[in-house]
């Protein structure tokens, strides 16, 4: 992998930016170049929200991901909006518990993970975002497993240390699906 451009998209409150931060910190730990660019503005509560992550071996030009190698869609509007932007041969990861349609493209790899449902069933409500990061890791190995964990640790403040285990569990669920 020389450059991986990922677009995470969903509703505000689904943890899109946090999931992006976990990816970004993992890449930092791995010694990669990276950029993390959020959408910002009135949509930050409840509206659509997205986050561009570029991970690369060389200096990063535009941090805005307009032609993603990887799209993670956590709601229907996000899938509709970005499905055709994904480059041929790219990956689309869909939270199939919140998105009720299928991707009608045959030039991309599509994975359906009922992340929100899995989170609820496993008592880690709200961690669908991290389940999807786990799945993304399984399919792309964008960093090493060790650095993914190191990145996760960087994103969870010491006073919320209990969250680390639930997040690790979420990653595992994602990797197993």
């Amino acid at each position: 992998m020389s450059t991986m451009r990922t677009l995470l998209a969903g509703f505000g409150g689904q943890g899109i930016l946090f999931a992006g931060k976990v990816m970004a910190y993992s890449a930092l730990k791995e010694g990669k170049e990276l950029s993390w660019l959020p959408s910002y503005g009135p949509e930050m509560r409840g509206g659509t929200c997205n986050c561009s992550i570029v991970i690369s071996d060389k200096a990063i030009g535009s941090p805005q991901v307009t032609a993603p190698d990887v799209l993670v869609a956590m709601n229907r509007p996000s899938l509709d909006k970005f499905v055709n932007a994904v480059v041929p041969g790219g990956i689309i990861l869909v939270d199939s518990s919140t998105v009720d349609v299928k991707v009608e493209r045959d030039d991309v790899k599509v994975f359906y993970v009922p992340a929100t449902k899995l989170a609820d069933e496993n008592g880690i409500k709200g961690l669908a975002n991290i389940i999807l990061v786990g799945k993304l890791f399984k399919e792309t190995n964008f960093v090493s497993a060790e650095m993914l964990d190191a990145g996760l640790q960087k994103c969870i403040p010491a006073k919320k240390a209990a969250m680390l285990d639930t997040n690790r569990k979420a990653l595992e669920i994602g990797m197993a699906n």
């Binding site: 931060k21 930092l28 990276l34 993390w36 660019l37 910002y40 030009g61 535009s62």
Partner: protein, 354 residues
Amino acid sequence: MAEKVLMKGNEALGEAALRAGCRHFFGYPITPQTELSAYLSKNMPKVGGTFLQAESEVAAINMVLGAGATGVRAMTSSSSPGISLKSEGISYLAGSDVPCVIINVQRGGPGLGSIQPSQADYWQATKATGHGDFQLLVFAPSTVQEMADYVSIAFDTAEKYRVPAMILSDGMMGQMMEPVCFPDNAEVKMVEKPWAACGHENKRPHNIVNSLFIEAQELEKIVVERYKRYETIKANEQRAESYLTEDADIVLVAYGASSRVARSAVDAAREMGIKAGLVRPITLWPFPVNALEATVATAKQYLVVEMSMGQMVEDVQLVIGRRKPVSFYGRTGGIIPTPEEVLEQIKKLAGKEA
């Protein structure tokens, strides 16, 4: 070397200000510079400094004038509409020769505009930040690391020449996170300020920090002296990065956020066999004439890329003149152009339209 951390551009500006010895920040809330004020409101008190949320942008810049007049490193930050409000105070700072640092995290305009990234304040920053004959030093970082690096450079340069400095950033640079590294033991070079109004302690005649010179001859003399300093700045302080320009047929010119996009487009063009390069001004004033001039002999044409309707392009045209064609591509209103759009322009210019 210290550990790399992930930070938003806005936060990096705040941390860099603290490390540059800035202990006085005066601001007023506005998107998209929010994280900068938030960072300093949290961290300034920890180092015994002043974070003051003013009643307006107007008040904030005048607090900078007062604090700066006493000789301390003072800073304010805002975004486009707020900078318009500050322009009165900025003119007084320039006219009183008070160094300071002003951050503009640009958003779309005119008017209330949008809150998305923009570069439409180039003219305001480099030509007319307020009334009267004056210039600001204008720095345009293009990475979060540069956001961090250029705060102390801005303070140092501002103090060296007694000229206010602006960091012209934008919503994209402010909101994005990238790895950033702060040097462990960076030394803060505090210069003597014998002109400062901080109490004469009965040891010297009183200092007056002032921009009023009611006699026309006196005012002219003072402005002319200031312009001599500007000439020195133009000779010594130009900064730019040249990327793949040595053999480039098409030289792109872009700064800040749009230079990131331009760089991606240059890489993509090279992959297609088009010899493209990029001159990235880091100082917008002084404009890096020398870096552009260095490309004129070999470049066949220029493409200026901005997040505006075309402002810096006029400075590029001023340098290149009629020697080579200069084209422009821009998006405005808060739209960030995509590398693909810029690549299309490069292809058109190269005669390789898709």
